[in-house]
């Protein structure tokens, strides 16, 4: 299969009916991959913080916006919500708290929670996930098969 390639930056999202392989690097950020099991295409986002509180620009930097926008985009491209399934990745706690334990802000954990919450609210099943922990990740998402290749980063970067 000939794949086009897309590098997904934080605060953006991507979906395509053409076969793409999308690469992204995650720290405490979370990526939600949506895949349409009927139409066999997918989309993915990459958000940094869980919730937009109505203060700064309403961008997909925030989980609640990034997830809604990705679902909207998939619908626009022909999907029915009931045909979608999700895989979620990321949400590591890379910063250490003052006591050397996990960071007290728990950005990673909160990023994971918002994905679970919103996917459940939209009745989209989470068929696979690899979240949390203390290391960064690189993932490749194949939009035609919905397959994800996942690898931990060696160093604690991002």
């Amino acid at each position: 299969m000939e794949y086009s390639q897309h590098f997904l930056y934080p605060s953006s999202f991507f979906a395509s009916r053409e076969p793409y392989v999308v690469k992204t690097v995650l720290g405490s950020c979370v990526a939600v991959c949506l895949w349409d099991k009927k139409l066999h295409f997918g989309g993915i986002n990459h958000y940094m913080l869980p919730t937009w509180m109505g203060t700064d620009l309403a961008s997909p930097k925030y989980g609640n916006i990034a997830i809604e926008k990705l679902i909207e985009k998939m619908k626009f491209m022909g999907s029915r919500v009931e045909d979608l399934q999700a895989k979620i990745f990321g949400g590591g706690e890379l910063l250490q708290g003052v006591d050397g334990g996990p960071s007290s802000t728990q950005i990673g954990e909160r990023n994971i929670q918002i994905a679970k919450l919103l996917l459940e609210a939209n009745k989209i099943p989470i068929v696979a996930s690899c979240v949390g922990g203390q290391r960064g990740r690189k993932i490749l998402f194949f939009t035609d098969t919905g397959e994800v290749r996942h690898k931990y980063l060696e160093k604690r970067q991002f």
Binding site: Q5, G54, D56, S59, K87, K151
Partner: protein, 306 residues
Amino acid sequence: MNNNITDRQLLKELSARLKQKQETEKKYADLLTEYQAMGKRLKDSEALKSHFISNVTNEIVNPFTSILGLSKAILSVEKQDWKKIVSMVALIHNEAFNLDFQLKNIFTAAKIEAGEILPNVQKVHIRQLIQGVIDSFSIVTRKMDIDIQFDYQIQLGFGDKDYYFNTDAEKLKQIISNILNNAVKYSYKDSKIIVKCWMDDDLLFVSVQDFGTGISDKNQSVIFERFKRLDTGINSINQGHGLGLSIAKALLDVLEGDIDIKSTKGEGSTFTISIPRLKVVNTDPFGGDDGMFFDNAATDDDVDLF
């Protein structure tokens, strides 16, 4: 295993469960308050947004009306009255400058909200870039007798005189424009603005200092919110609609930079941005050493499939 438990153990277990339940209830109550607060915030934001739309309509229509009217007037001016023409052209320039500025901000905000803002990293001639932004304000500032001083402190030794820095030129330009625009907006007539640029610890710093109204501590926390405007502007040259600083902040996210404000009410403000040197992404972000490990996924134990 003995399943019989004593009354004491039973009591202990029950009180532990009760405590747990109370804790859960408290958690729910906290969550509820949080969501109620958020609901109110979103409602306020929505109100600001509709206010913004009606504002923006005026701000696009009015400059166009002036530009059209002035051009028409110029067409009917007698040749010997060229001085009149110059002053009318200056007015046209002023209106067009504002219009251009506002439209760029509106389109950038729309792109940011659509998640379509991506870094485009190149080698940027920093001095030229900042000088260019300052020059674009020259007609506006001349009219108000505001002197913009450019203090470029990157010394030789950081390479050569033409100092290049890897970043996104367009985004940096828009960030500095918005900060400078704000400085002009809150400056008094016949005053100065100091733009400084220096390197420290491999970070590029650019600061813009004005001697205008200043921002109270309370307002410093809200100026980055979208559509928020402080009503203390002195000059009406750029009405603005509260997008500028929220755009600057969002663009700084893309450049992985930061912004800092120091301000005293009545004495003026200094906005300082700092940005790191970005890696020039070649046209193929998959290339390079870190793209390789997925190619032999079949043999690589570290790669998990989901």
